[in-house]
């Protein structure tokens, strides 16, 4: 039976804890038709900029639009790949260097669908979600993050 899918909140205030990620993996142990998971974790990097070193990123979003867009992306990816599960979590607020700010998790019967779907999701999240990162520097200034 096709499950009806509804927009979900993908935003998490603050960093995504390793415990949450572990719990999320554990939650799938009862779904025994899954044969492969793929996980992407975005971590705040201590970039060195001409203006100073990055110590944290402060994320803001146009939340209503981002959730609508995330739902559209989810539907596209579910249509394209035979997935059992898909989870997206993105941080808002200040996330320090070394902490996790993005958690994308796909599961399927076989590994390739999970891996390709995960990769495509991450690319689309970065390109299409109205989210902005303000990179906080050790010089007390800031620069606006640019996605490459």
């Amino acid at each position: 039976m096709e499950k009806e899918r509804k927009p979900k909140n993908i935003f998490v205030q603050g960093p995504i804890s390793p415990e949450k990620i572990a719990q999320s993996i554990a939650n799938h142990s009862s779904k025994t038709d899954i044969g492969g998971h793929s996980i992407f974790l975005g971590q705040i990097r201590a970039d060195e900029k001409p203006e100073g070193n990055v110590i944290a990123i402060d994320y803001t979003a146009y939340e209503d639009m981002a959730l609508e867009k995330a739902f559209e992306i989810r539907e596209d990816i579910f249509e394209k790949y035979p997935l059992t599960c898909m989870h997206i979590y993105h941080s808002l607020g200040e996330i320090k260097v070394g902490e996790i700010c993005l958690f994308v998790f796909t599961s399927s019967k076989h590994r390739k669908a999970a891996m390709q779907a995960c990769d495509e999701l991450v690319e689309r999240i970065k390109a299409e979600l109205p989210v902005w990162g303000r990179e906080i520097l050790d010089t007390e200034g800031h620069v606006w993050k640019v996605n490459t």
């Binding site: 975005g42 994320y59 803001t60 979003a61 146009y62 209503d64 639009m65 981002a66 609508e68 993105h90 700010c101 993005l102 991450v122 999240i125 970065k126 390109a127 299409e128 979600l129 109205p130 989210v131 902005w132 990162g133 303000r134 606006w144 993050k145 640019v146 996605n147």
Partner: protein, 79 residues
């Protein structure tokens, strides 16, 4: 007869405007809105940003419907 539109600014654009919410008289199209914003906030001249109308991305010369929620979106940098 003028009508008001609600403008939401994000990221670098909100910083340059000094606010994340504005109310303006509807200038008619996004092209005219950009010109009006640039004259009101000279820091916006030459800065790259896109528009969304009622949460959908729009072409730079789209018409602004009455009562629209207009968002000013600098390049996305999530993840």
């Amino acid at each position: 007869m003028s009508q008001t539109i609600q403008i939401k600014a994000f990221g670098m654009i909100a910083e340059k405007i000094g606010s994340s919410d504005l109310s303006l008289d509807n200038p008619g199209t996004l092209k005219e809105l950009r010109a009006q914003l640039e004259s009101q906030f000279p820091d916006l001249v030459g800065v790259k940003f896109s528009f969304a109308l009622n949460k959908k991305m729009q072409l730079a010369d789209s018409e602004i419907p009455a009562g629209a929620e207009v968002a000013l979106l600098p390049p996305f940098s999530g993840g």
